[in-house]
Point group: C2
């Protein structure tokens, strides 16, 4: 199948703050070419922080891309390409929630939008949370609140939670660790 | 919270084939500015096609952004901004699988990567599949295969399936309709 699609060249069109925009010239069936967009992103990590009572710590923040507030699991971009996802998840947990954990366990790995972007998000579950200090970036403003997994599943199926990493992570957590009726 | 972040301007930096790259100048706390990337996408729809035997039809295709094959639910971009997700999902189902359905039901809505992109994917479940004709775009090459939901859940937790819309949709389908042990 891939033999029918061949990349002839990749050209950088714009270098953004966190993203690079490329255009790829693809040869189709050996007889003509098309141009595809490609966005390069350095990758990210996210964490499902589970409290002693079994609730999940969620962050609420304003998202410029959607022009509204979202309810999400804590997450953030890698400091640099190649930073281990576990380190990034530990850091984002502490910065966004004010809790540390030495018990982070890999849950799933996500590719956010495979048609045009290489962004990868590694998702971990954090337990045995230790109070520390919230330490947000200067352009981050975040509200923190704990919810039961049942409350969060209702918010997914009512359409209130739409963020794909959050939907994937919460349902994966529930599938793997949740109690079944 | 949003009062602490205010968009001062949005500038188009590059117009791609399916994406537009903008940079937004944001005022933080009323005293300084930062520049954020913003990618505009017209939106998409996806479908979980359920066979008479309760299996799910999955598509396997080469993804240029990841430089490898992926296993995904059928999906595709809206023809134009404002096209109803249900119409897009029906079309992509028929084009990519060769089956039609008059029984599509909304499952979840996703935002693929909220930190920098407005892409929305509406996900539907399709039942009572009617054989029709696969009709791929000239640059699409897709293999079709049916799996049980248990097989697909194993592939999510082993890391074989990483595509976020697929992980979200399959786990949402299983949470809503799956049999519990």
């Amino acid at each position: 199948m891939s033999e029918q699609i061949k990349r002839l060249k990749r050209e950088l069109k714009f270098k953004g703050t966190i993203l690079d925009f490329y255009q790829d010239t693809m040869e189709i069936n050996g007889d003509h070419t098309v141009v595809w967009d490609f966005i390069s992103h350095k990758g990210a990590a996210a964490v499902v922080p589970v409290t002693e009572e079994g609730k999940i710590l969620m962050v609420r923040q304003y998202r410029n891309a959607l022009e509204r507030y979202t309810l999400e699991i804590p997450a953030g971009a890698l400091d640099e390409v190649g930073e281990p996802g576990l380190e990034c998840a530990s850091r984002e947990l502490e910065e966004e929630t004010g809790y540390r954990s030495e018990k982070l366990e890999w849950l799933i790995t996500l590719r956010t939008t495979v048609a045009f972007c290489n962004e990868k998000i590694e998702v971990f579950v954090a337990r045995d949370l230790i109070p520390s200090k919230q330490n947000l970036d200067e352009d981050e403003f975040i509200d923190l609140k704990a919810y039961t997994i049942e409350e969060l599943k209702e918010k997914i199926f009512s359409g209130e939670i739409e963020d794909a990493k959050t939907v994937s992570a919460l349902l994966a957590y529930d599938t793997k660790y949740g109690k079944r009726a």
